[in-house]
């Protein structure tokens, strides 16, 4: 597992890839940060960052698939899947090794974004409780999206296709709660509550307000586990269907 983790990390950090993605992330963060400065509470100069993160999440839809699109699609394209599958390791280790590598890159991006709250704390007051909770929620959401992206990447051989499909799925996850609020869905309360239980956004809202609720953590963790297990199944299944 460690060797796959290390190989993927090398693929990110020994090439410009990690730095370009992180740069793009910070570039977007800057825009959102600037925008939220305008809405700052003038009387107190409190930075809560909740809104900033809220808006940055939309950018996840474009960033996370870029990270995850190659995860399994490229292994297939280069025929290196054979190497992994005929080595004395099992598929669980392959999936986890790759997932941890993606998470590490994501953590690197988050660490770089700490620049903004640190900078803000010099110029004003940062609400620490909200900041920490928002980061936790942000991390969980990203970890879930990475699991989704990785899953989509195991479905297809073309990494661009994996990125686009991933974007669509993530888009659905982001806006499913808005969708459930439409009049059409509201006609069917059962359907509405069922769909609403998949909505990640209201759960993130709690984090950004400084609440850590067990149910929200469970939501994100279970979504991650479901995706990873599905990831495992899809790889195993493809071996059977090949040809």
């Amino acid at each position: 597992m460690f060797s796959i983790y290390k190989k993927d990390l090398q693929g990110y950090f020994f090439t410009p890839f990690a730095y370009i993605v992180t740069g793009l992330f910070l570039f977007m963060f800057t825009f959102v940060f600037n925008g939220s400065l305008g809405t700052l509470d003038q009387a107190t100069f409190y930075f809560s960052f909740a809104n900033t993160f809220y808006n940055v999440i939309i950018m996840f839809i474009f960033l996370i698939p870029i990270i995850t699109m190659r995860t399994f699609a490229d292994e297939r394209k280069f025929g290196t899947e054979v190497l992994l599958m005929t080595s004395p390791i099992n598929v669980v280790q392959i999936v986890l090794g790759k997932y941890l590598a993606n998470i590490t890159l994501f953590l690197f991006m988050l660490a770089c974004s700490l620049f903004f709250p640190i900078y803000a704390s010099f110029k004003g007051e940062v609400v620490m409780s909200q900041l920490i909770c928002a980061y936790l929620g942000f991390f969980l959401w990203g970890a879930m999206y990475i699991a989704i992206g990785q899953l989509v990447s195991s479905f297809v051989e073309n990494s661009i296709l994996a990125a686009i499909l991933g974007e669509i799925v993530m888009f659905v996850f982001l806006f499913i709660d808005d969708f459930t609020m439409t009049d059409f869905i509201a006609q069917y309360p059962g359907l509405q509550s069922a769909l609403y239980s998949f909505a990640a956004q209201p759960r993130f809202a709690y984090f950004s307000q400084g609440f850590i609720r067990l149910s929200d953590i469970v939501f994100f963790l279970s979504a991650i586990i479901v995706c990873l297990v599905w990831n495992y199944i899809s790889i195993e299944k493809r071996r059977w269907n090949r040809g």
Binding site: S3, T15, G79, L83, T86, S87, P88, R239, R242, G243
Partner: protein, 342 residues
């Protein structure tokens, strides 16, 4: 020892490999021979545990590939048809990754990598990106990967494809050397390669085994007969009479008229070819028939191969083939019975 029992693979309704069984003995090089699309790669992928089999069992030194994959794969080095290399990695980096996958202890890692690079003669490209290497080098990097950790069992799927003649010779002698410590199964559609390297051959076509035997036996099994070619000038009927009356001549298979009273006879003979040849020459010359050419031809592996692929049945192999067919029929009958019961 590696045993392959009743291995079958269906892709949907397409049967790629049909109920094949054979064993590979320790320190043996087994050639796996067949035309393109015969099911060679599919079989190898199944033996390596990459593709699951529809039915059957593969045991590598006592471990079942599908039941104890990790244990079985510890003894396995596999070079697939397309070398499984990452284009964006450097050769040394790649081998180091593979060493990690194969769980080679860190203390032995660099020594082991140096060893395989030396064996495959890729030390000079160790810092190059794999995508910048030629096909032959990529192939050898893939081969080096298979040798990492000195696994007891090696599966080599067309290891010499894409190499230049000098490299082919080097790789062949390397495979021969590997025999000392390893058990090798090695596929190819090039006959001379197989006859140069392997102890035994499995010939496969359209998913069926056509023959399993040593190369000498395969050559013998075409009947041990020789083909005699004679080109003469003179009376056709007299010549034919003289040739066919000779002991050892089974029959004149073919007579070609080449004009100007020149004929070519192609005859099948048995026994000592030289004696028969001398007798025929003496008879013909005594009867004033000019001989412009006479030679005997041994059936080579090539013709054995073609014959087997085309008909699949001859002599001892016929029995062998029937045996497998009977097995197959029995298995099918059993299946039908099962379905009937359900």
């Amino acid at each position: 020892m590696i045993t392959i029992e009743n291995l079958t693979k269906y892709y949907g309704n397409n049967r790629a490999v049909n109920n094949i069984s054979f064993t590979i003995n320790d320190n043996e090089i087994l050639g796996f021979l067949g035309p393109n699309g015969a099911g060679k790669s599919t079989t190898m992928n199944m033996i390596a545990g990459y593709l699951p089999m529809t039915a059957g069992k593969v045991t590598i030194f006592g471990s079942d590939v599908s039941k104890e994959p990790v244990k079985a794969k510890k003894n396995l080095g596999y070079l697939p048809e397309i070398p499984p290399v990452y284009p964006d990695m450097r050769v040394r980096e790649y081998l180091s990754f593979c060493a990690g996958l194969k769980r080679i202890p860190i203390t032995k890692k660099s020594k082991e990598i140096a060893r395989v690079m030396e064996l495959l003669k890729i030390t000079d490209v160790k810092d190059k990106l794999i995508k910048n290497l030629s096909k032959g080098y990529k192939q050898r990097v893939g081969f080096a990967q298979a040798l990492l950790g000195n696994p007891k069992f090696l599966i080599l799927d067309e290891p010499t494809v894409g190499l230049d003649p000098k490299q082919v010779a080097e790789v062949r002698s390397l495979i021969k050397d590997l025999k000392k410590e390893h058990t090798v199964i090695f596929s190819s559609h090039i006959l001379s390669e197989v006859s140069a390297v392997c102890d035994r051959v499995v010939i496969i076509n359209k998913g069926d085994i056509k023959a399993i035997d040593t190369i000498e036996n395969l050559e013998k099994q075409t009947g041990g007969s020789l083909t005699l070619h004679i080109r003469i000038k003179g009376s056709r009927t007299t010549a034919a009479e003289l040739i066919s009356k000779n002991e050892g001549v089974k029959e004149i298979a073919k007579t070609n008229a080449e004009g100007d009273d020149t004929y070519e006879f192609i005859a099948e003979i048995e026994g000592d070819g030289d004696v028969v040849k001398n007798n025929i020459m003496r008879d013909l010359l005594n009867n004033n028939i000019q001989i412009s050419d006479i030679f005997t031809e041994k059936p080579d592996l090539e013709s054995v191969f073609v014959k087997l692929i085309n008909s699949g049945t001859s002599g001892g192999m016929k029995e062998l083939f029937n045996e497998y067919r009977d097995d197959m029929v029995a298995a099918q009958a059993e299946e039908l019975k099962k379905e009937g019961n359900e």
